[in-house]
C-alpha cells in the first residue's frame, strides 16, 4: 500500500458525577423523558449555571491519568449554535483555556498518541423521532462531558481502536465514567486524512462525527480511508467537510462542507467565574489515583510472573483484576489464582458485562483459601477443581465441601505405608516395571491416587515406590 492513513480523535466521555455540571439534577442514564431536568438545565430565562466542583476534579483526574498538564487557572466559554436539543442555544464549554493539555497515551507498540487537550463541557439533550414527529428529551442536557482531543498521531485503524480501548480502561480504572459506548457515554469524532507514505505534508482532512461503537469507528475509518485513496487515485480533490457514518449501508456521507461550518462565536461565559485548581489540589487528586491499567499489567507480568496474555485478560476488567489481586495476595504461586479465574470462573462469566461487574458468586477470600490448600499440598489440583465448581454453584467456602480428613493431606509415613501396600497388591505391574515397562509405574501411582482420593503427591509417591521396589 502506497498510502498512509493519518487520523486524530476527539472523544467525548460523560463523567459519572452524581449531579449534572451546572445544576443538581441526576446524571443517571435513561428515566422517563424530561424527568431529570430543572429550570437550569432546561435553560429557562433568568437561570444561572453553577459549576459542579466534582466535574473539575474528575476532569483533572482524567488529565493526570493521561499524562496531561493541568491548568491552574481556566474558564468556561459559550459555544453558540442553534439546535432544538440545546435549550440555551449555546453550549457551555472551554475554548482557549482547556483544563488539561499536552498529555499522551502509550500504545502497546511503544508509540505515543499525543493528547492536545481535555476540556469540560455540558452535554445536549436528545431528539427522539417517533410516529412521524420529533420530541426532545432534555434528560441528558447538562450531563458533564470531557472532550479529549488527540494530535493527528494515528497511522492505522488498529491504533485508533487500541487507543479508544486504552482510554476507556483508564477512565474506568479512575472511576470518572462508566464509558458505556452503547449508552453513548463515550462517543468519538474522527479526523482523517490520507497521504503518500514518506510525505510530510498532511492531506485535506474530513471529520466523521459522533460514533459510539468501536466496530463502527473502525468500519467508518476504513471506508473513509478508501474513499480518500480512490479520490486521490482518480486525480480528484478531497473536500474538507464533516461527514456522518451510516452503519446500515456502511458508508460515510457528507453533512456539511467547510463553507457551511458553524461560526460558534465563542466568548467567555459571564455567568461563571474563573476556575482555579491549586497545585496542592492537583497533588491531592494525583494521590487519589489508583494504579492504572498499564502499571497493573507491569506488576502482573514482572512481579507475579503471569504470561502477558493472561495479565491482559485480567486487567481488561478492573473488578476482575482487583478480584485476582485479592485472591492471590497470600499465595506464592501467583499463577494459580489467575488460572482458576481465566478458566473455570470465566467459563461462567459469559458476557462482557458479567466480567465488567465481576459477577462471581464467591468472594476472593474463598478462592484464596482454596489456593492455600493446594499450595500447602492439603488437596490436589483435581480436588480443587471439583471443589471450586461446587463453591461457584453454591457461593459457599471450600470447607463446606471438604471434610477434615480431606483437608489434612497425607504425610510421608502415611504415603510410604500406602506405597508398600500398592507394591504388594500390584505384583503384575511391579513385574512389568522391572521388565522395563516404564508405563507400569503409572498404574501403581493410579492405584495410590485412588486410595488417597487424589491427595497423594504423585512425584513423591513415585520416588517411594521405586525405593520400595528396589529393596
Amino acid at each position: 500500500m502506497k498510502y498512509e492513513l493519518v487520523a486524530g480523535l476527539e472523544t467525548h466521555i460523560e463523567l459519572s458525577t452524581k449531579t449534572k455540571i451546572f445544576c443538581q439534577c441526576t446524571t443517571e442514564f435513561g428515566g422517563e423523558p424530561n424527568t431529570h431536568c430543572c429550570p437550569i438545565c432546561m435553560g429557562m430565562p433568568g437561570t444561572l449555571p453553577k459549576l459542579n466542583k466534582k466535574v473539575v476534579e474528575y476532569a483533572v483526574k482524567a488529565g493526570l491519568a493521561t499524562n496531561c498538564k493541568i491548568r491552574n487557572i481556566s474558564k468556561m466559554d459559550r459555544k453558540n449554535y442553534v439546535y432544538p436539543d440545546l435549550p440555551k442555544a449555546y453550549q457551555i464549554s472551554q475554548f482557549d483555556m482547556p483544563l488539561c493539555y499536552e498529555g499522551f497515551i502509550k500504545l502497546s507498540s511503544g508509540r505515543n498518541i499525543n493528547i492536545n487537550r481535555i476540556h469540560i463541557e455540558e452535554d445536549a439533550g436528545k431528539l427522539v423521532h417517533e410516529r412521524g414527529d420529533t420530541y426532545i428529551d432534555y434528560n441528558r442536557g447538562g450531563v458533564p462531558l470531557i472532550e479529549i482531543v488527540t494530535e493527528p498521531d494515528f497511522r492505522s485503524i488498529d491504533e485508533a481502536v487500541e487507543y479508544i480501548e486504552k482510554l476507556r480502561l483508564i477512565m474506568k480504572y479512575i472511576c470518572v465514567s462508566d464509558v458505556k459506548m452503547q449508552e453513548g457515554s463515550l462517543r468519538c469524532d474522527v479526523n482523517i486524512s490520507v497521504r503518500e507514505k514518506g510525505e510530510e505534508k498532511l492531506g485535506t482532512r474530513t471529520e466523521i462525527k459522533n460514533m459510539n461503537s468501536l466496530n463502527f469507528i473502525a468500519k467508518a475509518m476504513e471506508y473513509e480511508f478508501n474513499r480518500h485513496v480512490d479520490i486521490i487515485e482518480s486525480g480528484g480533490k478531497i473536500e474538507q467537510e464533516t461527514r456522518r457514518y451510516d452503519s446500515d449501508l456502511n458508508i460515510t456521507e457528507s453533512m456539511r462542507g467547510k463553507e457551511d461550518a458553524d461560526d460558534y462565536r465563542y466568548f467567555r461565559d459571564p455567568d461563571l467565574v474563573t476556575i482555579s485548581v491549586s497545585e496542592e489540589e492537583i497533588r491531592k487528586l494525583k494521590n487519589e489515583l489508583p494504579q492504572l491499567p498499564d502499571e497493573k499489567l507491569a506488576v502482573f507480568v514482572n512481579e507475579y510472573g503471569l504470561p502477558k496474555d493472561d495479565a491482559e485478560l485480567l486487567i481488561k476488567y478492573k473488578k476482575i483484576a482487583e478480584y485476582y489481586e485479592e485472591a492471590s495476595k497470600d499465595s506464592t504461586n501467583k499463577k494459580l489464582a489467575s488460572n482458576y479465574i481465566l478458566s473455570q470462573i470465566f467459563r461462567r462469566l459469559t458476557t462482557d458485562s458479567e466480567k465488567e461487574e465481576c459477577r462471581i458468586s464467591i468472594p476472593p477470600e474463598y478462592l484464596g483459601q482454596l489456593i492455600a490448600l493446594i499450595e500447602n499440598k492439603k488437596i490436589t489440583s483435581s480436588m480443587a477443581s471439583n471443589t471450586l465448581e461446587q463453591m461457584l454453584d453454591s457461593g459457599k467456602p471450600a470447607s463446606e465441601f471438604l471434610s477434615e480428613k480431606d483437608m489434612q493431606g497425607i504425610d510421608e509415613p502415611q504415603l510410604r505405608e500406602i506405597c508398600i501396600r500398592a507394591v504388594n497388591e500390584n505384583a503384575e505391574a511391579v513385574k512389568s516395571y522391572l521388565e522395563g515397562k516404564e508405563k507400569a509405574l503409572k498404574s501403581i501411582i493410579g492405584y495410590i491416587m485412588k486410595e488417597t482420593k487424589g491427595k497423594a503427591d504423585a512425584k513423591l509417591a513415585a520416588e517411594i515406590i521405586m525405593e520400595v521396589i528396589k529393596k
Binding site: 429550570p39 432546561m42 435553560g43 429557562m44 430565562p45 433568568g46 437561570t47 444561572l48 449555571p49 453553577k50 459549576l51 459559550r78 453558540n80 442553534v82 432544538p84 435549550p87 440555551k88 442555544a89 449555546y90 420529533t134 426532545i136 461560526d263 462565536r265 465563542y266 466568548f267 459571564p270 455567568d271 461563571l272 467565574v273
Partner: protein, 487 residues
Amino acid sequence: MSRIKYIQNLLETKQISCVELTGKYLSSIEKQNPVLNAYVNVTGDEALKTAKIVDEKISLGQKLMPLEGIPMSLKDNISTKNIETTCCSKILRGYYPIFDATVWEILKKQNSVLLGKTNMDEFAMGSSCETSCFGVTLNPVNTECVAGGSSGGAAASVAGNMAVFGLGSDTGGSIRQPAAFCGLVGFKPTYGTVSRYGVVAYASSLDQVGPITDSVEDASIIYDTLSVYDSKDSTSSGSKISTHDKLNKSIKGLKIGVAKEFFEGIREDIKKSIEDAINIYEELGAEIIHFEMPKLKTVLPVYFIISCAEASSNLGRFDGIRYGYKTNSYKDINEMICKTRSEGFGREVKRRIMLGTYVLSSGYYDAYYKKAQNLRGSIILDFKKIFEKCDVILTPSTPVTAYKKGEALKDPIETYMMDICTVPVNIAGLPAISIPCGFDSDKMPIGMQIIGNSFEDYKVLNAAYQYEVQAKRDISPSMSPLPGDRR
C-alpha cells in the same frame, strides 16, 4: 423621610391595616394605570392575600421584618413563579415561570406585597419603555413625557404613588435614568451584591438589580435586605455591611471627584443644578477633587459591543420550542425558529442581537469584542486609580430631562448617547445612585449621580442621604404620604 418606615409605623400602630393599605395602592393603580401604563400585570389577589397574612401577624403583636407589608412592584424581567413574566416582549407572552428569582424569593419571605409587574423596554433594551410590546409608560410628573427606561414602569409605579418601591434592573442606566426622569432615587448596587438568579438576562456581566424609591433611606433598607450571597449565582458576593447603619455618618472630609468629561454635552440647566449640589456638598464639609477621565468617550462603544454580544447569546434561547410565543405556520424546525424570532422580537432587540452576533463573528471578534474587553479592563483600572484619590464621584445622571414620547425612537444612536453618564458604572461594576437635585424650566426633575468604588455602596448611599437631608427633600413634593390621601 423613609416611606417604608412611615408605613410600617402606621401598620404596627394599627392606624391602617395592610389590607386597607394594599387596597389604596390597588385603587391608585386602577385609577392611574390606564394612562400611565406603569404596570403590565396587576396581581391584586396575590397582594391582598399577602396583606392578610401581614395583618394576622400584626394582630398577634409580632414585629415586622424590614420590608414586611410594603406594597411594591417588580420589573417584568424578574421571574415570579406562576405569574406571567414577559420582559415586555411578544416572544415571552404567556410564559409563567416555574421558579422565583432570588430577589423575589427574599421579598416573598418578607411578606412584601407584590402589586404587579411593571413595564420596561423589551428585554431592557431602550431608555423610554417605548420598545415594550405593551407600549410606552408615561411620566407621572408630566404625562406628555416618557418615564424613562428601561425600568420606566418601576419608576412610574413609585412616582405615581402606585407602589412604595419598585425593583428594577440596570444594565447601562436602566434604574438611574428613569429615577432621574421621574424625580426619584434609583440605586444600582455593586455588581454581584444582589443576586441575578431569575432575572432574565440582557447582558450578564452588566445587569444588576436595584430599587427605585422616593428616599435614599428606603433604597438603603431595600439594598440591605437584598444584598445576600446567593449560591445559585456564581457571580454573587452579597454584602455583609449594613448601609442603613452608616447613613448618619458625617461627610466632613469626604472626597468627591468631579471630571469635566462627564459634563460635556450636558444641558446647561442640568450642569447648573449639579454645580448647586456641589456647593451644598462643600457646605457639608466635603472636599471636591477634580480629575480627568479621557477614556469616557470610549465607554459607549465598549458598552454596546459587550452588551449586545452577551445579549445575542442570552436571547438565543427564545426559539418557541419550550415556552412563550411560537409562530403559527412553518415547514420545518428551522423555519419555525426563524419565524418565531422574527415575529416575536421587536426592532430594537433585533438590532442589538444582530450587532452582538456581528461583533462575535470570526474575523470581527478581535476588532470589536476583544478590543472592547481590553478597553473595559483599562476603564476599570482608571476608576480604581480615581478611587485612590476620591471616595465618590459626582456626575449628572442624564444629559437631558425626561423627553416627549416618540423622540427616542427617531435616532437610535442619539438615544444611545444619552447613557453616557450611567454606562461607565456598569462597565466597571460600580455602585451608583441617582437622586433628584432640582427641576428644569418645564418643572421636569433633574437627577445627579453619585458613583462609588466597588463594595462601597454605603459611601454612595450616605453621600446621597446627606445631600437629601441638607437639601430638605422630604417625600417628593408631588406625592402624598399614601395614595388618595391629602398631603
